[in-house]
Symmetry: C2
Subunit: 218 residues, 2 copies
């Protein structure tokens, strides 16, 4: 059952010289929070939690991560891309790892090189509030490590799901699902390392593991 | 990338003696059409096509099935549960297989024994038409062959997705995604076997395979 719990263009629609019905690329709102599930096809990775996303200051906070199947990553992760630092925060024992981020900030948006795949309606448009129009885009990962398929709401450009198929099999397809999105951030402190992180020494990497958004879930 | 392109209760809400916020079980509309994808975790099965669903007369039509990855099931399937018959229709060569259905009609609804898992918002409710409220239910398959997780729109009770995890691994988790749903059926002929099926002899099974909704995709 792992993996997939569940998945706008209008905000960024500009007069198109092409086929007017083709959705235009779009960028998600700069500041929002929501829930996220991350899973891999081999079921070795499954996590569900909350995230806070700040594209202006290039900050992502992942918190309250839960698990399935005896796996456990209940720590929080704070990624401060402008500073190039990632904090792994363990509140239960007030410990903190500070690691150099090994990737640049990638805003939630339809990538420039993405190809439009399809527009689908979840539910139905027969009645108000019974359906959602979603656009699906596909393309190659920036580092050419595989292919992706991402979906965003037609209105609002909120992420619904992302699927990443690596060239090297590894865990197999990785899926991200986004839900319960709220515009804005209720708690700006989410982006501030807690006091007990101040003494953490910067490590170049996590015991040989990469330190980026994806590696958080491995 | 296989598998997951992309999942109401209000219609059947009755005054609840329990927690008013707990979604009530619901039944999908009796007659609707839409798109469906079916995929298995091992990527051996992937199909996308259109379906027409008629709960009143217990009929399901699957048509225009497309495929991925060199697999090919472009035939149509018509399941007439009241007659206990399934037609595999190959229009390109006007051939037809007529097989005894080996399962009873199961309406699209939240099963009686299902447990409410969660309610999620796809997109956001911050603005109209940017979000969809979906309820997720889980339970055991009727034949105790595994567990399922199904999601329906909160309003309208339209299916959004279904995940089926068999006890015996087989193809691994099977996912169904429903999209582009339209209430009613544009072409009632979809439920009528074409003339060239009249001469088809009834077979007890498909060369040893089961003849039911699931087996269509194997």
């Amino acid at each position: 059952m792992q993996g997939i719990v569940l998945i706008s263009v209008a905000m960024c629609l500009v007069p198109s010289l092409g086929w007017a019905q083709t959705p235009q690329r779009c960028k998600s709102p700069d500041l929002f929070t929501g829930g996220i599930t991350v899973a891999t096809q081999d079921e070795k990775v499954y996590a569900v939690g909350k995230y806070a996303y700040d594209a202006i200051n290039q900050r992502i906070h992942l918190g309250e991560m839960g698990t399935y199947d005896h796996k456990n990553f209940t720590y929080e992760v704070l990624m401060l891309y402008k500073e190039g630092v990632m904090y792994m925060i363990h509140r239960h024992n007030q410990t903190c790892e500070k690691v150099a981020l090994q990737s640049k900030f990638t805003p939630l948006e339809v990538p420039l090189d993405a190809s439009f795949m399809s527009q689908v309606v979840l539910g139905t448009l027969a009645y108000p509030e019974q359906g959602l129009v979603v656009n699906v885009w596909t393309g190659q990962m920036p580092d050419n490590s595989g292919t992706y398929m991402m979906s965003f709401t037609e209105l609002g450009c909120l992420p619904v799901s992302g699927f990443f198929q690596p060239k090297t099999n590894g865990h197999g397809m990785r899926s991200h699902s986004y839900f319960d999105n709220v515009l804005g951030v209720k708690d700006p402190d989410a982006f501030v390392p807690p006091p007990f992180c101040q003494s953490a020494k910067l490590k170049v990497n996590r015991d040989g593991k990469r330190a980026d958004f994806f590696s958080v879930f491995q």
